[in-house]
Amino acid sequence: MSAKQSKTSGKTPGLTHEGREYSAETLHAMHDSMLFIRRFEEKAGQLYGLKKIGGFCHLCNGQEAVCVGAQHAARPEDYMMTGYRDHGHILARGADPTAIMAELLGRAGGIVKGKGGSMHMFDSSLNFAGGNGIVGEQVPIGIGFGFASKYRDDGRVTLCYMGDGAVNQGAVYESLNIASLWKLPVVFVVENNQYAMGTSLSRASAETHLFKRGISFKVPGMHIDGMDVLEVERKMSEAIEHARSGEGPIIVEAITYRYRGHSMSDPATYRSREEVDEWRTGRDPIARLQLQMVEAGFASEADFKDKDRDIKKQVAEIAKAAEAQPEPDAAEVWTDVYNDPIEGAYPYPGKVG
C-alpha cells in the first residue's frame, strides 16, 4: 500500500494513492460517511434488539467501503439499485438518515412512508431504485434502467449491486447476456461478503472467482479489495467510465465481509470467531482509512475519537426523532396501489368490501 501526502501540487495538499489524488476534504467525506453508516447500523441493531424494528434487518457493518467508494465514483444522475442489504447504500447516496431510520421503525416519515421497511428503501430524487427483497431481482431491473439510458442516449450509467448469493440466480445470467449483447451502460457490482446467508461461497459456487462469471457473455470483470475505500473509488471510477464510454457492461467483484450475521436473527455459527476477528481488526475499512489519513497528516487519532463521538450523538438524535414520529396514517393502506384507479370498479381503492 502506498499512501503518502502529495507534494506535486501547489493546491490543497492531497493524498496520492495508486496514482490517484484525493483531497483532505474528500477523504474526510469518505471517512465520515463510512463511520456514519457503521454507527447507524449499530443503532439499528440495538433498536431491533429492543423489538422496535421488526421483520428482517440486514446490516452492512464491514461493507461500508463498497457503499461509500462507489458513490464517490458515480455521478448523481447515475442510477443505482441493490438487494435487501440496502441501508448503507442509500445512506452513502445521500438520503435523509432520519427518513431511513423512520422507515426501519415503521413510521409515517419513513423514506417510503413505512410501506417498505429495511429491505425496500427508495429515493427517486437520488436515482436510488431499491431495495429488493428477492435475491437477484434487481439485476434484470438494473439492465432495464441501462436500456432506458441507451434508448434516450442520456449518458447515465446504472450501478447494479448484488451479493455473492445472487450470482447463482438465473436472472443474473439472463441479464449479463442481454446487457452484453446490447452494450448497456451497466456496472454489475458483486459485493462478495463470502456468505450467502449461512452458506459459504465455496459451498455454493463452482467458480468462486465471481468476476469471471461474465466470461461466457463477454462481460469483463474486475476483482477488487472491497475493504479499501480508495481502491473501491478508483476501480469503480474505471468501471463506470468503461460503461459510460459505450463499451458495455462490466462486473466489479468487491471482496468484503459482513461483521454481523446475515440478518439480526442469525447468530452466524457457520463461521469462526477467529475468522470474524481477522477481518474486523485486521482489515477494517474505517480503521484503514484513518491510518492513511493520520499518516498523511490530515487528522489525529484524537480527531477521529471526537468525530466518532459526534456521529454517535447525531445517530442517537436521529433515532430519537424517528421514534417520536407517528405510525403511518391508516388511510395509507389504500394509497400507492394504482396510478390510475378506476372509479366504480372492484376493488374500490380506499374502501373495504
Binding site: 434484470p140 432506458a148 447476456n177 394504482y338 370498479a345
Partner: protein, 326 residues
C-alpha cells in the same frame, strides 16, 4: 369501419401508440425480424426500426425485468410473451417487482407498462402450452388484467392499456388471432374497467371473457331457439372488475352463469359469483352456475382436449339448469 383480423387490430393499436409516443417500444421473442410468432407485430420493425422493435433472446425473466426497469426509468414498454405459458418464468418480475413497485416505494417509482401475449388454450399443443392464468394475475394488487374477445375490443383496449399508467396484463387469445370483424378506422379508446353487454336479454345473464364470449354468444342463439333470452356480458377487464354492469344485469334477469376456459378452483367465475352473492343475493332466483375448464392439465388427443374445454353445449346446458329448464 374496416374488416380486419384480431391480430391486425392489435398491430394497429401498437403502431398508433408508438407513432404518438416515442417512449413506447415493443420487445419480445421474434417480434422484429420474424414479424412475431403469431404475426401480431408484422411490419413493425420496418416501420419503427430496431431501436423500438426489439428481438430478445429466449430469456423471459430477463426481458420482463428489463421492461420493469425501463418503465421505472420513464419509458413505456410493451413486453410481448410469445405465450403467457412462458411468462410463468417471469412471474417474479411481474408479481414481486412490477405490481408492487408503486406501493413499496410509496409512489416514488412505478411500472407503467404492458405485458402482452397469447393466453388460453391453443389447439393440440398439450398441457404446457394450453392454460388460462388470468386468475393468478388478477389476484395480485397493483396489476390490471385485460382480455379482449374480438378485434374491435382488442384495438381499443390495447391502446388504453398502453396509455394506462399502471402495469397492464394484456392476455390475447391464440385461437382468436385470425378472427375478422369490423374495427373503427378512426382512433378510439375503450376505457379499462368497463364491461360490455354483447347481447341484451331478460332471462339469464351469461358472463364470459376472451374466447368464451364468442361461445356464450353462440349459446345465446341456441337458447333463443329454446325460448330462453340470454344477456351476454364481456367484462373485458378482469381486474379491476366492472361489477356494476354485471349486478345490474343480474338484477334484471335474476339468474347468472359464468363461463371461462380456465380451471374451476379459485377461478374468475368463483370471484364473480362471490360478488353476486355478496351484493346481489336478493336478486337471485337460482345459484350462480360456473362453466369452466376441467381441473386437469390439457391432453393432446383431440377428444380429450375437447372434453377438457368448456363447449357451447356446456353453456347452453348450464343456462337451462339455472333457468329451471333442464
Amino acid at each position: 369501419m374496416s374488416k380486419i383480423t384480431y391480430r391486425e387490430a392489435l398491430n394497429q393499436a401498437m403502431c398508433e401508440e408508438m407513432t404518438r409516443d416515442d417512449r413506447v417500444f415493443l420487445m419480445g421473442e421474434e417480434v422484429a425480424e420474424y414479424n412475431g410468432a403469431y404475426k401480431v407485430s408484422q411490419g413493425m420493425l420496418e416501420k419503427f426500426g430496431e431501436r423500438r422493435v426489439i428481438d430478445t433472446p429466449i430469456t423471459e425473466l430477463g426481458f420482463a425485468g428489463l421492461g420493469v426497469g425501463a418503465a421505472m426509468a420513464g419509458l413505456r414498454p410493451i413486453i410481448e410473451f410469445m405465450t403467457w405459458n412462458f411468462a410463468i418464468l417471469a412471474l417474479d418480475q411481474i408479481v414481486n417487482a412490477a405490481a408492487k413497485m408503486k406501493y413499496m416505494s410509496a409512489g416514488q417509482y412505478s411500472a407503467p407498462m404492458v405485458f402482452r401475449g397469447a393466453g388460453g388454450s391453443a389447439a393440440r399443443v398439450g398441457s404446457q402450452h394450453s392454460q388460462s392464468l388470468e386468475n393468478w394475475l388478477a389476484n395480485v394488487p397493483g396489476l390490471k388484467v385485460v382480455m379482449p374477445s374480438n378485434p374491435a375490443d382488442a384495438k381499443g383496449l390495447l391502446k388504453a392499456s398502453i396509455r394506462d399508467n399502471d402495469t397492464v396484463i394484456f392476455i390475447e387469445n391464440e385461437i382468436n388471432y385470425g378472427d375478422v370483424a369490423e374495427v373503427p378506422d378512426d382512433e378510439y379508446i375503450i376505457p379499462l374497467g368497463k364491461a360490455d353487454v354483447k347481447r341484451a336479454g331478460n332471462d339469464v345473464t351469461i358472463v364470459a371473457h376472451s374466447r368464451m364470449t364468442g361461445f356464450a354468444l353462440q349459446a345465446a342463439e341456441e337458447l333463443a331457439k329454446q325460448g330462453i333470452d340470454a344477456e351476454v356480458i364481456d367484462p373485458r377487464t378482469i381486474k379491476p372488475l366492472d361489477e356494476a354492469t354485471i349486478l345490474a344485469s343480474v338484477a334484471k334477469t335474476n339468474r347468472c352463469l359464468v363461463a371461462e376456459e380456465g380451471w374451476r378452483f379459485a377461478g374468475i367465475g368463483a370471484e364473480i359469483s362471490a360478488r353476486i352473492m355478496e351484493k346481489g343475493f336478493d336478486d337471485l332466483d337460482a345459484p350462480v352456475a360456473r362453466v369452466t375448464g376441467k381441473d386437469v392439465p390439457m391432453a393432446y388427443a383431440a377428444n380429450l382436449e375437447r372434453m377438457t374445454l368448456p363447449s357451447v353445449a356446456d353453456i347452453v346446458e348450464a343456462a337451462r339448469v339455472v333457468c329451471n329448464r333442464a
